[in-house]
């Protein structure tokens, strides 16, 4: 891609909010940050406000629209440029991720309507995990049900894991197709670990849904299926109450009851003798450690452990705790380097550690842009036989909730 610099970016907040505060656009560019009040009730309106804003800036009119899809199902199994006949399929996939997909589809349709000449790309969170082998993505349940409902492990945070894996490969000067790594995307919201062999994903702690795997800010992660059934039965069949409990009221928040952010819990646990916080921290770290060991074993000879996203990038305590006592696997962390992380990417492993420990700042927007650029370029190459060399501006769509 010609340049990886972000020209400008921003966020439309409180779309369709029912609160007293109105919607607004938080916009930053080289001059600084501006907050603009707007009135947007839906995603289409939000999009047109953003386009208005961009029209007012020079050099900011997009050449490509890139959209991030959490789940593409069978209709969109991999990253692709949207074709005209894809619009029917787009309607179908709305139901696959009922919170995340519909807004994205709406905006794609709006782009087509308002700017029919600009190509659009969809980049999937699950695409990187399409290489997970069947013995890892299959759940041992009757195959007719699994087939009917598409029940298999999809994995998530693929865009991020792919990006940091590549960054680690560049940093360590190990060709991507030879890199074995365990990539830990530890966010302040969701979190997942990815096992990477030969630069490809072979497992991910999230599964069919983002609910599986690690302890997250408000999600329970792994849980006994019978326990969930009991919760449903005892709540009188109120599955949405249980859904709410497991997705929004469990995890760090559910255990500690003081905060959904592990940093608050760390502070409380290390500075006071509050047992609940200590227990929460213990369980949070324990689960990461177990998956760390499991994936180091799956990967075999790992070249690197990678830490990224909010907690992975900025909380040395967590990195140190989950890498402790792993000399068996050849993992040895340098405590001083760990505490003094100031630039990214950086290696915090001890000199004699066989496995490097790299901290990378994830940049999903950039990853999406790069993916889209590659898609666009290869499409152009296929159709016109020449490569485009002009600078590209990309509008990247991320719905974060």
């Amino acid at each position: 891609m010609p340049s990886e610099e972000e020209i400008l970016g921003g966020e439309v907040q409180r779309i369709g909010a029912k609160t007293a505060e109105s919607s607004r656009i938080v916009h930053h560019d080289s001059r600084g940050e501006i907050v603009r009040r707007v009135s947007v009730k839906g995603y289409r309106e939000a999009f047109s406000e953003v386009m208005k804003l961009l029209a007012g800036e020079s050099g900011a009119s997009p050449d490509i629209f890139a959209h991030r899809l959490v789940q593409g199902g069978t209709e969109f199994p991999s990253n692709s440029i949207i074709r005209d006949d894809d619009f029917e399929a787009l309607e179908l996939i709305k139901g696959l991720a009922p919170i995340h997909n519909p807004p994205v589809v709406e905006i794609i349709e709006e782009c087509k309507r308002g700017y029919p000449g600009i190509p659009q790309a969809v980049v999937l969170d699950t695409a990187f995990h399409s290489t997970i082998p069947s013995y890892a993505y299959t759940y041992p349940i009757p195959s007719d049900i699994a087939g009917q409902l598409g029940i298999r492990k999809y994995g998530f945070h693929g865009i991020s894991h792919q990006y940091v894996t590549r960054a680690a490969s560049d940093y360590l000067h190990i060709p991507l197709q030879e890199l074995n790594a365990v990539s830990c995307h530890l966010g302040s919201g969701g979190a997942s670990i990815c096992a990477v062999v030969g630069g490809k994903s072979v497992d991910n702690t999230m599964g069919f849904s983002p609910l599986q795997g690690l302890v997250m800010s408000t999600r329970c992660g792994d849980l006994d299926p019978a326990l969930i059934l009991k919760l449903i039965a005892y709540s009188g069949g109120n599955y949405s109450k249980v859904n709410d409990l497991l997705n929004k009221k469990s995890g760090v928040l559910g255990m500690s009851s003081i905060s959904s952010d592990i940093r608050d819990v760390i502070s409380r646990a290390t500075k006071t003798d509050d047992e609940r916080s200590q227990m929460t921290l213990d369980v949070y770290l324990w689960r990461i450690r177990k998956y760390m060991g499991a994936y180091l074993t799956v990967v075999g000879h790992a070249d690197a452990i990678v830490f990224t996203d909010t907690i992975g990038e900025s909380v040395p305590y967590v990195r140190e705790a989950v890498c402790r006592n792993l000399e068996f696997f050849g993992v040895k962390l340098d405590e001083w380097k760990n505490k003094k992380v100031s630039q990214f990417p950086t290696d915090i492993a001890a000199k004699d550690s066989r496995v490097r420990i790299i901290v990378v700042k994830t940049n999903e927007e950039l990853a999406i842009a790069k993916n889209s650029y590659e898609l666009f370029v290869s499409q152009e190459r296929d159709s016109s036989g020449s490569e485009e060399g002009e600078s590209l501006d990309e509008q990247v769509d991320c719905i974060n909730s």
């Binding site: 349940i141 492990k153 497991l246 689960r287 696997f329």
Partner: protein, 366 residues
């Protein structure tokens, strides 16, 4: 002739195993290396356990025929209430009954069995062996789930204790004991129990630190017909899309999943592990899941030095060991040779040996 009868209630049967436990009898198969291993199995059979009158009579006949000095009863779930083997007395009955809602399929028949045994006079001494006891003191990080610990208020008392247990504690515990007795230098054991629901436990210095089971045996490794670990989102999906109630989902996950679902017909763990064309898909998945469980245990223990197999399907462990152990060694930064241990003993035998050991301990003088 001193005898012990081991009773293992299973669904609507009770398996009984009659052992002679004379300390001076020598086992003829050369297998025993310690005095308490010199108990020998005399007879084994099943009592159908439906009608109280019926099974009481059969129990009475059994006990009358063999005049055991003691009876050992295996109970699956003991919760936090029972953390070790117990000698039975009346007060235990009430404590057991209070656990009935937490293990509704297994506690009630055990209670009925004990009540029936009480009615046989003279009542021999009864020892209770709990499968969960070995795991009662799992580390906090291992046994706690990432949900609100106070759900009983909002959801009801019968929710049970929301913590992890292992359900083959008698195998894992006996294994750890035998390895130690044989003088094998083992601090970090990967204990793989191959039963209808297999279980992997990490045992560090004789104490379990990880186990694949959950608040019920359903969580963990896939079994003959049980699904094992599953994304919670799948259950919510089944409720939402298929409008199934929890009983129906439970039937599917308990009866139609596991290797049976992968093979496409009734199958057992043993068949799958022995390999064969039909079983490839199931075998790959099962081995992978076992590998993950072992890896998780290895990180908590800081490595491993022993791999041990047990359970009723232990004869199928050869092939598994051959495929699994190189991968486990491969994760290590330095090459090494772990100790390998296959324990062939059946559950009833382990219970008998445990009884003998305690029996000898009280009579031996130094």
């Amino acid at each position: 002739m001193s005898r012990l009868i081991v009773l293992i209630p299973e669904g609507y049967f009770i398996e009984y195993h009659v052992y002679s436990v004379e300390s001076d009898s020598v086992a003829t198969d050369g297998h025993a290396t310690k005095p308490w291993e010199a108990c020998s199995l005399e007879w084994t059979g099943k009592i159908r356990f439906r009608g109280e009158g019926l099974s009481l009579e059969e129990l009475r006949k059994l006990i009358g025929k063999y005049s055991p000095e003691a009876i050992a009863v295996r109970i699956l779930y003991g919760g936090e209430e029972f953390k070790r083997t117990q000698i039975y007395d009346r007060s235990i009955l009430e404590r057991l009954e209070s656990l009935a809602a937490r293990s509704p399929l297994h506690i009630p028949p055990s209670v009925r069995l004990l009540k029936a045994l009480e009615r046989i006079v003279p009542t021999p001494e009864i020892y209770l062996f709990f499968e969960t006891a070995f795991f009662a003191n799992l580390p906090l990080g291992e046994r706690t789930y990432a949900i609100d610990g106070n759900l009983s208020e909002a959801y009801g008392e019968g929710l049970g204790d929301i913590r992890r247990y292992g359900y083959h504690g008698l195998f894992h515990g006996a294994l750890a004991g035998k390895i130690k007795e044989r003088g094998i230098d083992a601090r970090k054991i990967l204990s793989i129990c191959l039963e209808p629901i297999p279980e992997v436990a990490g045992i560090y210095d004789g104490k379990p630190v990880t186990v694949s089971g959950g608040s019920t045996p359903l969580e963990g490794l896939p079994g003959n017909s049980t699904c094992g670990e599953l994304d919670p989102g799948i259950i919510l999906l089944l409720e939402e899309k298929k409008k199934w109630g929890p009983e129906r989902i439970n039937e599917m996950l308990s009866r139609k999943s596991g290797v049976t679902a992968l093979v496409g017909r009734n199958a057992t763990i043993a068949e799958v592990l022995r390999g064969g064309r039909d079983f490839e898909k199931a075998s790959d998945l099962l081995e992978y899941r076992i590998l993950l469980s072992c890896g998780a245990a290895m990180s908590v223990m800081g490595g491993f030095d022993t791999v041990a197999f047990s359970g009723r399907y232990v004869e199928a462990a050869d092939r598994l060991a051959g495929r699994l152990i190189p991968k486990l060694i491969g994760a290590s930064s330095a090459p090494f040779h772990p100790a390998l241990f296959f324990m062939q003993d059946t559950l009833d035998r382990l219970i008998a040996e445990s009884y003998c050991r305690s029996r000898l301990a009280t009579t031996m003088t130094f």
